[in-house]
């Protein structure tokens, strides 16, 4: 469901770019309501994710032209030798504004806009830093390339590194990230061999693959302090044109890396009547890289607490019980830090979490990332 998360982000981005339609007022500080934007975009002329396709790596790490949105989504849990915990998020969104390019004399003329989010969670000091950037795809200010792989927005970038890995670099206001990610397990094709349905409507789908456990090491700098860190990252890649359907208001997305080398991804699409959309789904990845799809009925999720953002007023669930009976997994998920809310063009919660529980009756723990969207109007 990272996919949907991304989709909504991209939608919100598109909406921000379209200037909130006819609304006079600037978007409220709390951000844009995802559901308001649904149906406002015309897909004519864009590529759509309708049929399964062949994935080829590393080529598919690069951009896919013709789709309205595409993203490169990196999250990870890292530890400093002393045991101090960090989380990070670095995301690049590519947004195609028009299906047909206009010939321009100026090199600044562009039909693609990149947005990027960069966040660092410093659990040791209970700090959370988040930044947002935009740039047009022009003059090399932002872009994406297939070989060698490179996606960048000014000096934030993800690039191919020797040995099939990737190097992530980002810095803003004294917060710096410089990591090398090894490929780890082979890519996981989500949904139906990489075609991930998001709604019941024709073409409401995306191409979606993940690299679920990428061994990671590098350096995080916060102000004058610099930390050698290592841990594991999760990369989500998705491209699509279609949009959320009527009645879908947001989602809760979980990517968990368990200590027994398995990974679990589940997402719940929330409907406006409070129910979970039947298109909610998940994937369980085995230690050897084998994986199986989970349907809506294969798992149960229950929120155990909540947190209200003092800044945006949004009330998010905080703490869950997640059970996957088929795999005999009973997990408890707790945020590493309550305040991991990003408030930029739109608000959402995306943060590092701590996992504990039991697998086949044996104790197990793990780490992960959770994304919660569509909660803007949940407060007060």
């Amino acid at each position: 469901m990272k996919a949907l998360g991304h989709l909504t982000l991209a939608l919100a981005l598109a909406a921000a770019l379209v200037g909130c339609g006819e609304r006079d007022a600037a978007p409220p500080a709390g951000g844009l309501a995802v559901a308001d934007m649904l149906g406002s975009l015309d897909s004519t002329g864009f590529q759509r994710a309708v049929d399964p396709r062949d994935f080829r790596f590393p080529e598919d790490h690069g951009p896919h032209e013709g789709f309205r949105t595409e993203w490169w989504y990196y999250t990870g849990n890292l530890t400093e030798p002393s045991g101090r915990r960090f989380g990070y998020q670095l995301t690049f969104f590519k947004n195609l504004l028009a299906a047909d390019a206009t010939e321009r004399a100026s090199d600044w003329g562009a039909d693609q806009v990149f947005m990027a989010h960069f966040a660092v969670t410093d659990a040791g000091r209970e700090r959370f830093f988040a930044f947002e950037r935009f740039a047009r795809r022009a003059l090399g200010l932002a872009g994406a390339e297939g070989s060698p792989f490179r996606v960048w927005l000014e000096d934030w970038s993800a690039t191919a590194s020797p040995g099939g890995g990737m190097r992530l670099r980002a810095a803003d206001q004294g917060v710096e990230l410089d990591l090398v990610l090894d490929p780890g397990k082979p890519p996981v094709l989500q949904g139906d061999a990489g075609l991930s349905r998001k709604g019941s409507g024709e073409g409401n789908a995306s191409y979606y693959y993940s690299q679920t456990r990428m061994p990671t090491r590098g350096r995080i700098t916060i102000g004058e302090e610099s930390f050698e860190v290592d841990g594991a990252s999760w990369m989500d890649r998705e491209w699509s044109t279609s949009v959320l359907e009527e009645g879908q208001i947001g989602w809760d997305w979980f990517s968990l890396q368990l200590a027994d080398d398995r990974e679990l991804m589940v997402y719940v699409i929330r409907r406006d009547d409070g129910s979970a959309d039947p298109n909610s789904a998940g994937t369980l990845v085995g230690a050897g890289g084998d994986y199986r799809r989970l349907s809506r009925d294969d798992w149960r999720l229950e929120a155990t607490g909540s947190w209200t953002s003092p800044e945006s007023g949004a009330r998010y669930p905080a703490g869950w019980k997640l059970s996957v009976p088929a795999a005999e997994l009973e997990l408890e998920i707790e945020p590493l830090l309550a305040g991991q809310e990003l408030r930029h063009t739109f608000s959402y919660w995306e943060g590092a979490v701590e996992v504990s529980g039991a697998s086949r009756g044996e104790p197990i723990d793990g780490r992960g990332y959770v994304e919660l969207t569509g909660y803007q109007d949940s407060g007060s």
Partner: protein, 849 residues
Amino acid sequence: MSPVLRRLSRRHFARHPWQALLAVLGVGLGVAVVVSIDLANASALRAFSLSSEAVAGRATHRIVGGPAGVPEELYTRLRVENGVRPSAPVVAGYVGLRDRPGRTLQLLGVDPFAEEGFRSYLERGTGALDLEQLLIEPDTVWMSPGTAASLGLEPGAELILELAGLPREVRLGGLLEVHDLRRESLNDLVVADISTAQELLGFTGRLTRIELILESGRADAELRELAALLPSGVTVERAGAAGAAGEKMTGAFRTNLQALSLLAVLCGAFLIYNTVTFAVVQRRRLFGTLRALGVTRRELFGLILGEALLIGIVGAALGLAGGIFLARGLVAQVTRTINDLYFAVAVQSLALDPLVLAKGALLAVGASLLAALAPAAEATSTSARSALDRAELESRTHRAVPKASAAGVGLLAIGAVLLLVPGVGLAASFVGLFLLLLGFALLTPAATMALIALLTPLAGLVFGQLGRIGGRGVVAALSRTAVAISALMIAVSVIVGVDVMVRSFRGTVESWLQYSLPADLYLSSGSAPTGALDGVRPGFDAAFVERLSAIDGIAAMSTLRQTTARSGADQTRLIAVDLDAESFDSFAFKAGESAAIWPRFDRGEAVIVSEPYASRTGLGPGDEITLGTPFGERAWPVAGVYYDYASELGAVTMARRQYVEIWNDDSVTAISIRAAPGADVDALTDEIRAAGGERRLLIRSNQAIRAESLRVFDRTFLITGTLRLLATLVAFVGVLSALMALQFERSRELGVLRAQGLTPGQLWGLVTSQTGLMGLTAGLLALPVGIATAAVMIYVINRRSFGWTLEMELSPEPLLSALAVAIGAALIAGLYPAYRMARTPPAEALRSE
């Protein structure tokens, strides 16, 4: 002060209401003039800073290049490789409007994604900005609601911009929302995406500047790092530099206005002094009696100063109200001038700066008190007995005349030193001028006595015995008449001075226009204000120039490119001309022969500079000028200094070939054309238009340019005319109050004459001859003083503030009209007292004391 004394004071002004009224009016008028000029100046300056702030945003520094701007790759490099943030690329320039010839808009091209922190009205999240449209739709612009309304446009409407005459249709994408700026600061500003701005201005691949916000604490270190990243010819300057240059540019203009307003204050101060003096001397007998009755000097002093204070306060209130009223008219004139000469300033609203108002109020009260000090001291220092004696006062006054004259000569000497010693600043020059005027004022009593001695026989010839009585009366009552005549003289001389200066200036410019426009037709790409140092000036392309040169009826053609280059820390107006030896003759050199300068200029070995540039920088023949070029700093020797009245900023002019070689910029902002002998200029104009295609060309004959230039000149000096009018008014009120007081005071004397058989008609003659004589005296004295004032303004103040050589031109009209003002004011002032006296029965007049 005791209630009795206060009542006395009240009674006096109740019996002479006109005296109180005129005093208040005098103070009020003087203050009104100062306040209005100050307010207009402050508003114009604020207009400038608001406009430039709105465009410049919150940038602290900017990366700039020469005429070719900054290569856009530099921006990418700084952002992607060096993480230089916040930084914002800007492409700015000037555009015209097809439907509104003469109206210039500033075009600001930005990348909205980089605007965060720079211009609040362009930051993302400003709901009105439709970023998608901005990025993917070419030729879309935004403007403020005010600008759109003034052009009658609604969002979505098409408008046609003109770039060097070429029409470019654009669409109004939306309206800019202003939250933290004054709405009007975005007037006449058009915002577009940087891509659209590059395409409209023909500036693809280049940026006008890259703006930066550096933290004040780390700016130096960052600047050093930054400097290492910049290619040659590209530099970082403080963002305030442009604003400071604007302030500097208009500084001389504003200082001059302020000084003129201070001249009005000088007149006003004389007026106050005159009024208060009068109110005191008139009651000398009363004060003498009071002193004899035991009223202390202190009490009396307090009484007089209290009256002055009251006059000052009421006058201040009147003056502030009047000043604000006047300023509303003046601010438009001032901004208009700044617009004509420097840059597009759209703000024309009045800013009521409390400091200016406080200054005006203080001036009114202070001047009133100061003016009252001398008469109060005089009235209280004399013994009670001698205070009762009028003759004592007059003889004391007469005894004081030589002392006053000596003081006057002293002031003249100090003033002359300030004006003649080179290297003294502008402010000191004005102090010098003030001292000169004060010196002349102090010399007035002596001059009056001498002049009246000469004129009395003349008055005798005209008015008979009464004329002689009138003349002697002026001298006999010198304690009153001297001040009135001085006040009138100062006011009239200021009028003469300003008048002669403006006429001389205009005459000089006119004759310069005659020889400096040798061609028949002139083509201009229009739009940018002459003095604008910033932004892209759209020019003619080489293909168009090529097409023109193929036209048969053209005997010779030369092109001009006006742009900006950096010289040291300053932006310098750089003009590149392509001339033949014959056209080069149209430069008149201050020093050196044009034939000798030409070969070096033509080969690009040397440049020539305009007179204001030379005087501003102190550079002249034999010196070198260093300009920033794409190849680093380069120096050219100055071959000559030429007369030029087009811009007080001055300009450096170089041969076009040299310019193109160095800056690789072949666009042209103006073209002059000499028609072949016998060619039909109208037909030629048509052919030129045809060569322009859809380009609307601004083709003007040399006469039209001359007329247009003079029109701008006249508009610039319109405000001077307004000031002159105000000064005249102040003078008029002054002389009116002085003379009326004088004549009323003579009620008793006139009553005696009436009792002795003087007819009402003869009384008219007496009063008229006396006031007329005073007016004539003041007028005659004002002529040399006025001419001296003009000379100071032309040869000292103008040179020090603008650096122009002006030919002083003395014509009879300003002198005669000044004389007429003086005499007219004096005669009118005599009308009412004469009328009253003639109607009062002698017995009552005798009783009046």
